[in-house]
């Protein structure tokens, strides 16, 4: 086995030092009733070349670009990823290091994460960001738990236009601890109905996603004003952070915590993971924040350097009183997002975000002109909802055979929205692609 360097002579020499007669003797402390009765029943080992062939076959049984045109977003976005991103984060010194517990030989990770925290804070208009959470859904759950700790309240309100799967993850995290979850319905224009907020007492937080699951841009400012009026925190969630290349950021609109999914920022879709839970808050709440934080400091000779800091919030020190149980997070994905944000720069991210919006608006307009109904009037970023005529499912399946995935059917998530589809357009689609799509759905 090429990963195991021991020769028979090595093994014999080492066994002599340990006093064990053979390799089996090393396990003498394991009682017989804990041992396997039979050898492992696994497939025969593959050579490197057989493995490649096997995995290629699996890969080819998937529908991906450029063979397929996929117009689905809904929390996972197809964007162009510069070759520099996988190339730089693929360097062994990043890939094969662990959490930077020994800062003197981890300054690369630490500076990179400090920079990621900074770029994230700037993107979201916040003062502090952590080194990452698993994904957008767990980031939201952690944000709600954090708000509950800060306010010492147990009730939270969630917009129904937060990604349906995020809301399910929130239930899994919050319900066993006795938290109460209230859902806010949506208005006809595709935004959250915030009027109910005033009628609910004792809220730890309200969470609103913008752009929301229908792609609509929410009024975070009003949500913030209302929740602050009753002493709760405003949590701004997101699934498509690229939108903040052209949108007012959550911090400017009064959010206390901003959290969401960062996959859009240079991370492959990878069937949903690994992704990146982005998490940022106001500085005054940082000691209640979950996850790792990197801070700037000096070494003994007065040179600038970085360390993991505020560890007294964490599980390895506080154990059951920690702000979260998180230990391993998604740092390499955070690094990918940092390289991506650095590659775009301020000028580039604005331009790319505008391009996403323009292309989506182009398709929206063309579908309207073709006679389809764009149901929600609120402005959108790169996703929007279309109502197709009854029986569209047949067309949808025909298009799949033509290697086009014409959006995501909303009915499984919102039973009241039959024939409604959520479409996403990014910079990966050309005007020609969009014209062809309109022609095909109109057939």
């Amino acid at each position: 086995m090429r990963y195991l360097p021991h020769t028979p002579d090595d093994i014999a020499a080492m066994l002599r030092v340990t006093g064990a007669g053979d390799l089996d003797d090393l396990f003498s402390t394991i009682p017989l009733n804990c041992r396997r009765k039979k050898d492992l029943n696994l497939p025969e080992p593959l050579t490197e070349w057989e493995l490649k062939a096997h995995m290629n076959a699996l890969s080819e049984a998937m529908a991906v670009a450029p063979d397929y045109q996929v117009y689905m977003g809904a929390g996972s976005y197809e964007h162009f990823i510069p070759e520099t991103v996988p190339c730089l984060i693929g360097r062994s010194e990043f890939v094969t290091a662990y959490t930077p517990y020994q800062p003197e030989i981890s300054q690369g990770t630490l500076q990179a994460i400090y920079e990621y925290q900074t770029l994230t804070a700037r993107l979201l208009g916040m003062e502090a960001a952590n080194a990452s959470i698993y994904d957008g859904a767990s980031a939201l759950a952690e944000a709600l738990l954090m708000a509950a700790r800060i306010t010492r309240r147990k009730k939270v309100a969630l917009s129904r236009l937060i990604h349906p799967m995020y809301r399910r993850v929130v239930r899994t995290y919050l319900e066993p601890g006795g938290h109460e979850i209230v859902e806010l319905p949506y208005l006809e224009d595709g935004r959250t109905d915030l009027s109910l907020l005033d009628a609910i007492d004792d809220l730890a937080a309200v969470a609103v996603q913008s752009p929301n699951f229908f792609g609509c841009i929410e009024d975070l400012k009003t949500a913030a004003t209302r929740i602050h009026g009753q002493g709760g925190l405003m949590i701004a969630a997101f699934t498509e952070p690229l939108a903040y290349g052209i949108l007012k950021n959550p911090g400017d609109q009064g959010a206390d915590i901003a959290c969401g999914e960062g996959q859009s920022l240079g991370i492959p879709q990878a069937f949903g993971g690994p992704a990146l839970g982005m998490f940022a808050s106001r500085m005054k709440y940082v000691r209640s924040m979950p996850g790792r934080l990197v801070g700037k400091t000096l070494d003994r000779e007065g040179r600038k350097g970085f360390v993991l800091t505020l560890a007294t919030r964490e599980q390895h020190i506080r154990r059951e009183k920690a702000t979260s149980n998180i230990c391993t997070n998604n740092t390499l994905c955070a690094l990918a997002a940092a390289v991506y944000m650095a590659s775009l720069g301020g000028t580039g991210i604005h331009k790319l975000a505008a391009m996403n919006r323009d292309k989506a608006e182009y398709l929206k307009k063309a579908l309207k002109e073709a006679g389809f109904s764009v149901c929600f009037e609120a402005p959108t970023f790169n996703e929007f909802v279309v109502k197709f005529p009854a029986g569209f499912e047949k067309t949808y399946l025909r298009l799949m055979d033509q290697k086009i995935v014409a959006g995501l059917a909303l009915a499984p998530y919102y039973p009241e929205l039959s024939e409604h589809y959520l479409l996403c357009v990014t910079e990966t689609k050309t005007r020609q692609d969009l014209d062809a799509l309109v022609k095909e759905v109109s057939k």
């Binding site: 050898d39 080819e60 520099t84 062994s92 010194e93 094969t96 601890g177 690994p274 801070g295 919006r357």
Partner: protein
């Protein structure tokens, strides 16, 4: 220092990202702008974030230089106890990057995603076989996420029997994530001390196990690197009172092909694919923390479950008693691909051999260093061994000093000051992928450090001497946190 592989070479300083670049540069290749502009209402719009504008060469040099300040498994031996820093095969990275796997949308229809579903279905089967359990979920994104999942499964199990238990037994040697995960389910951890042999005694468990206790969280092999020899008896005590046995499988690398977790009496087990199954640690993640359970708990696993019927794979939500979802989609799929590739490459004999050699390496280190460092539990160990600083602390040298000095010799330090039950612990996990000659160099380095501790203690107190920076002021960092520039 003649045996040292630590040296110094030319590495370059590099400023912070925003101290570089020029307005108007960009390292992104823009597609053609082929549609009309649709500006947003100014009420909603902004000019975008304050990011530096950098060219492609700026970006490439920046991250290349940063990477050179890091130490990884590919740089050298990384014996970080409890973290299983084994070699991460390059081919597995390549497999996870295959277009169809890396580029797939998670909500693709079943018939468009058979490759991914088949791989997940098979990986669940491989993991249940390796652990001797009955069913698995791949959804948890890391070990602690797996612990939370496992605790929720146990919580749901008790609830289904109409019993609301409030406590959980956690040994004093447990990882900090254990009590933190249990607390998320509303369980109060009850700490139990390990015996003089470094393992749990049945009597200690019997004394605290009652019908208000949901079960026990046990790490086996434990964090002292010792096998919990009384586990069957302990499981019997817990089961008798209606409790469940949760095993933290962080240390599964010691016992593949040797132990059956099912036979051991374990009801729920989490694995760390980034430890045992060689997926890289990526500066702290992404990991993956699958959870394996016995048959009676399968109905509580997270949804969706991957199912197979006549060779066709699908995702099923038809699990009314499931604890729900833990991840927006299905977990860290890309990490699963790497673990799957590893298991398919190693096969049954390869995995067993890996565990045998991991245990051989640890016992070899233990035997060769126990005259130099105090060994609090002098018994055969599993995949790691734990020393204390008792001998060196007499000369006012700490574990931290010795750990820092190891860097000068070209090694990543072991885990230090954990487990908490050993004063000044040095927890060494060499893994099976280190050769005898690397391990001999590591042993010589530690012996040399022990000599230096006596002859020139100041050398250790000022260590490390060779890395880019020396010891950093962590107190100042925490007192006045500077978390963004």
């Amino acid at each position: 220092m003649k045996t040292s592989s630590g040296t110094t070479g030319l590495i370059l300083n590099e400023p912070l990202l925003w101290e570089k670049g020029q307005k108007g540069r960009c390292a992104f290749s823009f597609p053609e702008d082929d549609v009309d502009s649709s500006p947003l209402d100014p009420e909603l719009a902004s000019g975008g974030p304050d990011f530096p504008d950098l060219g492609e060469v700026d970006v490439v040099r920046h991250y290349t230089r940063l990477s050179q300040w890091n130490f990884g498994v590919d740089t050298g031996m990384y014996p970080l106890g409890s973290c299983t820093m084994k070699y991460n095969p390059k081919i597995n990275e390549k497999m996870a990057g295959l277009k169809g796997l890396a580029g797939a949308h998670p909500l693709l229809a079943g018939h468009l995603s058979q490759g991914a579903l088949k791989m997940m279905f098979e990986l669940e089967g491989l993991l249940t076989e390796i652990t001797g359990m009955d069913a698995a979920t791949l959804q948890p994104a890391a070990g602690a996420h797996g612990e939370l999942t496992g605790m929720l499964v146990i919580h749901a199990y008790h609830q289904s029997r109409g019993s609301a238990r409030t406590k959980i037994i956690v040994p004093d040697t447990a990882h900090g994530t254990n009590p933190a995960s249990a607390a998320l389910c509303g369980y109060q951890p009850v700490s139990v001390a390990s015996s003089e042999q470094g393992i749990l005694s049945p009597e200690a468990i019997a004394a605290v196990m009652d019908e208000d206790t949901a079960g026990i969280m046990v790490t086996n092999p434990n964090t002292l690197g010792l096998f919990e020899e009384n586990i069957r008896q302990i499981a019997g005590i817990v089961h008798e009172k209606g409790g469940q046995v949760y095993c933290d499988g962080a240390n599964m690398n010691a016992v593949m092909g040797i132990v059956s977790m099912g036979a051991m009496g374990v009801d729920v087990l989490h694995l760390n694919l980034h430890k045992t199954f060689s997926t890289p640690h990526g500066c702290g993640g992404p990991g993956s923390g699958p959870v394996c359970v016995r048959e009676h708990l399968a109905r509580f696993l997270p949804v969706p479950r991957v199912i197979e019927k006549n060779g066709v794979y699908a995702l099923s939500e038809d699990c009314p008693e499931s604890i729900g979802k833990l991840h927006a989609f299905y977990g860290n799929f890309g990490v699963m691909v790497k673990a799957y590739s590893y298991i398919r490459t190693m096969g049954a004999d390869g995995l067993k051999k890996a565990s045998q050699l991991a245990v051989l390496n640890a016992n070899y280190i233990k035997e060769r260093l126990k005259d130099v460092f105090h060994l609090p539990y002098d018994r055969p160990c599993m995949h790691e061994c734990v020393f204390s600083d008792k001998i060196q602390s007499a000369g006012k040298i700490t574990t931290l000093d010795m750990a820092k000095r190891l860097m000068d010799y070209g090694f990543h330090p072991p885990t230090i000051y954990f487990p908490l039950v050993v004063h000044g612990a040095l927890m060494i996990e060499p893994t099976e992928t280190e050769s005898k000659e690397n391990i001999d160099l590591f042993i010589e380095a530690l012996k040399s450090i022990a000599r230096e501790a006596e002859e020139n203690p100041e050398l250790l107190r000022q260590a490390p001497h060779k890395p880019k920076v020396t010891r950093l002021d962590e107190v100042a960092a925490a007192r006045k946190p500077q978390l963004a520039g």
